[in-house]
Symmetry: C2
Subunit: 202 residues, 2 copies
């Protein structure tokens, strides 16, 4: 089975890479679908799942078991339940067949399936430009920069629940790709070949 | 002009990647050739150049100008002269046309030519295995591990002479590739495509 996980800095184009790569490979891409799956499994709305942020989860999570998430002793706190449910959702979707999974610490959750793990990053001016071009509201630059920082911090914190190695450290991934100054679609043919070479020889 | 620079952890297969990639692209690869060029330019033997280690250079280099190497105030110390001469040698070779340059902080020295910068790394067991398989003498494992550590430390120190950003930090490179558990030759078709996509869209 070919599972590709994509982790990414906010604004680096990682989600677009995931979507385009899955199209190029002709396999599904799971991102928002994970949230929807979790909501369905637990009889709540996707909005309820999304409202529980990664930052909340960290606060709720008992520190002493923070690095042993495989079979955590659950508290009654909803956000921890959601964290666990997200892992179930990822496994349920990913184990159906070849796929790309974006975020959600999928590289760790699916470790046993030997996924190919990609990290996407970029310099700040490139990420800012990308965020501004995608912004629906007329947000100012400072506001966007604060949001970028906050979201990446949340991702780093969320990862700490599952792994002993920090978020974004190249050693965690098979390939790290810098999208600074690039149209990410131009990177897809090479990434597709990377995936194919990797699974052909692994 | 297409210049590809390869930086690498010792034992990760970076040199082999550089050689194979240059063959796949049909362009020269400079590594030992830089030492030979420098020796020729300065009327000494390659062995004399090589005997001056990167670690020596750091010791000899005046700390106050350590981060401004573009036009350093030279001391009379030979090792500093060699560092400068190596940069001249790299520029002389690289500016002749498309090429792959291995090591020697070529990504910084050739920054003005917009090179595509690759960093090659691997986990310790993979690097150790590679080193053992290539070792001519019957070195013990501990000895090889010490050598790996020393060489990478020297590379990190050498980089500090030229750059404000630490060696091996993914932000310095366009692509970081983890060769753990891989025959590096299987990675070449995808890397070749990366290089081609990059230069076609940059």
């Amino acid at each position: 089975m070919r599972i590709i996980t994509i982790d990414r800095e906010f604004g680096s184009g990682g989600r677009e890479i995931g979507k385009r790569l899955s199209e190029a490979l002709g396999i599904p891409c799971y991102d928002q679908e994970i949230i929807e799956e979790v909501a369905k499994l637990h009889g709540v709305t996707p909005e309820q799942i999304e409202s529980i942020s990664e930052a909340d989860m960290r606060t709720a999570y008992p520190h002493t078991i923070g690095h042993r998430f495989i079979a955590p002793r659950l508290t009654s706190h909803d956000s921890v339940k959601v964290a666990v449910a997200q892992q179930e959702g990822i496994r349920k979707l990913a184990l159906q067949g070849d796929c790309v999974v974006i975020g959600h610490c999928a590289d760790i959750v699916l470790k046993g399936e030997n996924p190919f793990n990609i990290f996407v990053y970029a310099d700040q001016p490139s990420k800012l430009k990308r965020c501004i071009s995608r912004s629906e509201k007329d947000e100012d630059q400072e506001e966007i920069l604060r949001m970028m920082k906050r979201i990446d911090k949340n991702r780093a914190n969320y990862r700490e629940l599952f792994a002993d190695t920090p978020w974004g450290r190249k050693e965690n991934y098979h390939l790290c790709i810098n999208t600074s100054g690039h149209e990410v679609k131009t990177l897809i043919p090479a990434l597709k070949m990377h995936v194919e070479c990797w699974f052909a020889n692994h």
